[in-house]
Amino acid sequence: MKRILCMLTAAFFVFCAGGAWADDVIRLGVPGAHSGDLASYGLPSAYAAKLVVDDINARGGVMGKQVVILQEDDQCKPEVAANVGTKLVSEKVDVVLGHICSGATKAAMNIYKDAGIVVMSPSATNVELTKSGDYPNFFRTISPDDAQALLQVDFALNTLKVKKIAVIHDKGDYGKGLAEFAQGFLIERGAKPVLFEGITPGAVDYSAVVQKIKRTGAEAVIYGGYHPEAAKIVSGMRKKKMDTIFISDDGVRDDTFIKVAGRYAEGVYATGPIDTTKSPMAIAAIEQHKKVYGTEPGAFYLNAYAASLCLLQAIDKAGATDFISVTNALRANWFDTPLGKISFDEKGDAKGIGFAVYQVQDGRYVEVGK
């Protein structure tokens, strides 16, 4: 009796393995933070993948095969992420949606690269992941950290055609980070900033910095920081009768800025994310989440939704799951996603998503360029 049971169990396992691991499925790895402090960053992506996969399977799957999800928890920890990567590779995933955090993604990337697996992250914004060129198999559906600075610099140099630019920041992580990227891009383009300085947030006024900007003869100021200081600097400049162009970031693209700076806000440029939540596909994706899970979707949900669609459609279009075919398909095609029509550049960053330039006109922000 015991022997029969053993044999039956063994047979069951063999059967199971045979069924699940047969080559007539496409395996989508979904690693990310699904527990711990940062679970709220990772779980929405897993939900998005589930919804997309269910949808595609219901319509006949990819290349006529059903898609299965292999979900793995990396807790956003690099050391766990490397193990998760090894595990997914040994389970023969075809493509990977993840990881969530930049550090974890970096730790696992070499494992995927050696196995020739395409990875697409909905949320890892670290610049080096794409820019370094170390990971030709890496793609993402979110803008890298320096995207705003790049847009600001290109807008100033190409659209506004200014040459002398002062870069000011508030010494904070966000503001100084952006200002340093902007400085780097300006130097790359042969337009070294005439001034690069940090100000103290919350100071009584910024008249000395304003005088300094004036003395350098800057035609435009790129400011990295938030709206209270931006409002003080802009009004300080305008009150001193300087018409220097002011270009800032997402932290200033806020209606409070216009309210506080009042008429001095007119003409100020600020970059900010392109609003995607109004597109029909995004509305449908959000509705789907509400219907299935009963809640509003969390962080990076639309990015993950778009990434899953791109990966699976790319396989379908390529008709294969190997590294070369999938990467070529991702670069050659434009995909309809909740983030809009997107494609991917040589480095793996998405084209068609990200930031736009807005300008204050008659008391509100109006989009003036992408």
Partner: protein, 300 residues
């Protein structure tokens, strides 16, 4: 040379702002040897009151200087009432306690008032309307100094002179000096020291409110947190000039303003605070009581 003057006047304005707030710190310290950390909050409440009053009054059709004066007056009265009340609630019961207790009480009061305004008003930055029009005679030099800045500098100067005269020659001023020297002796000689201390708080708070109105008018934005940073800088100015001394507070404020302005202009604004506080340390090494402060033996 133009650049030098621009920085000079920028620093002068900033220094006058610090001085106007520092006067209140130094007066209170002079009389009861208490660092009134809630003083910056009185400045903030003055600004908020003026904003509310100005909004209400402009609905009634008031404009220009009359609006500024009336809104300013309301702010001064309201803030003075706050100063008076704070002293009665938070400091008077602790007058006989050891020196650390009222200090902690002052810090508590400061945090309380910040959060009170945060909850009762808003956490957002608010736009403060320009209440003073540009003076026509300032037009040729408006790239160096604006009318609102001139107003701050002139007000600080007038307040300093009046305050000095008041303390030197008026009856109440003499009583204040007596109280500062020896509370018990002053009391024995028939001075109502409770009244003297209350008047000190009222004058200090009124000055802070004047500062709040003029400075907000100059900068154009306020929120519940402005008092903290301005207060810290003004306190530094008061210590630099010699805490307890009226001309010292003004001198300290101006030196601090100029240091910051010139450090930003000629070196880098990254190091603005480094230079300002470096100077403070340097001066305190050579003159522990501040520039105009008198070293007196500890009264026990």
């Amino acid at each position: 040379m133009d650049y030098f003057f621009e920085l000079f006047f920028g620093g002068l304005t900033r220094g006058s702002i610090y001085a106007l707030i520092a006067l209140g710190y130094t007066m209170v310290y002079g009389i009861i040897e208490l660092i009134n950390f809630a003083h910056g909050e009185i400045y903030m409440i003055g600004a908020f009151t003026a904003l509310i009053a100005a909004s209400a009054l402009s609905l009634l059709g008031l404009t220009g200087p009359s609006l500024l004066i009336l809104a300013g007056l309301i702010a001064v009265v309201y803030s003075a009432a706050y100063g008076f009340t704070i002293e009665k609630i938070a400091y008077k019961p602790l007058r006989k306690a050891q020196r650390l207790s009222p200090l902690i009480s002052a810090i508590g009061m400061s945090i309380f008032l910040q959060n009170y305004v945060l909850l009762a008003q808003t956490s957002d930055f608010l736009s403060f309307p320009t209440l003073v029009d540009e003076f026509a005679f300032m037009e040729p030099v408006s790239h160096i100094m604006r009318s609102s800045e001139l107003l701050i500098v002139v007000t600080t100067a007038i307040a300093t002179v009046l305050l000095t005269l008041f303390i030197k020659f008026s009856r109440m001023g003499k009583a204040m000096r007596a109280t500062a020297q020896d509370k018990t002796m002053a009391m024995l000689l028939g001075i109502d020291i409770n009244r003297v201390i209350s008047v000190t708080f009222i004058i200090g708070s009124a000055l802070a409110a004047v500062g709040g109105v003029l400075i907000s008018n100059h900068i154009g934005q306020i929120n519940f947190y402005i008092g903290f940073i301005a207060g810290i800088k003004a306190f530094t100015a008061a210590v630099l000039g010699g805490i307890g001394s009226i001309p010292g507070a003004v001198l300290g404020g101006l030196i601090l303003g100029w240091t910051e302005s010139f450090a930003t202009g000629y070196i880098s604004s990254d190091y603005e605070d480094v230079f300002a506080f470096g100077l403070l340390v340097f001066i305190l090494i050579f003159r522990p009581a501040g520039i105009l402060g008198r070293t007196s033996s500890e009264k026990v």
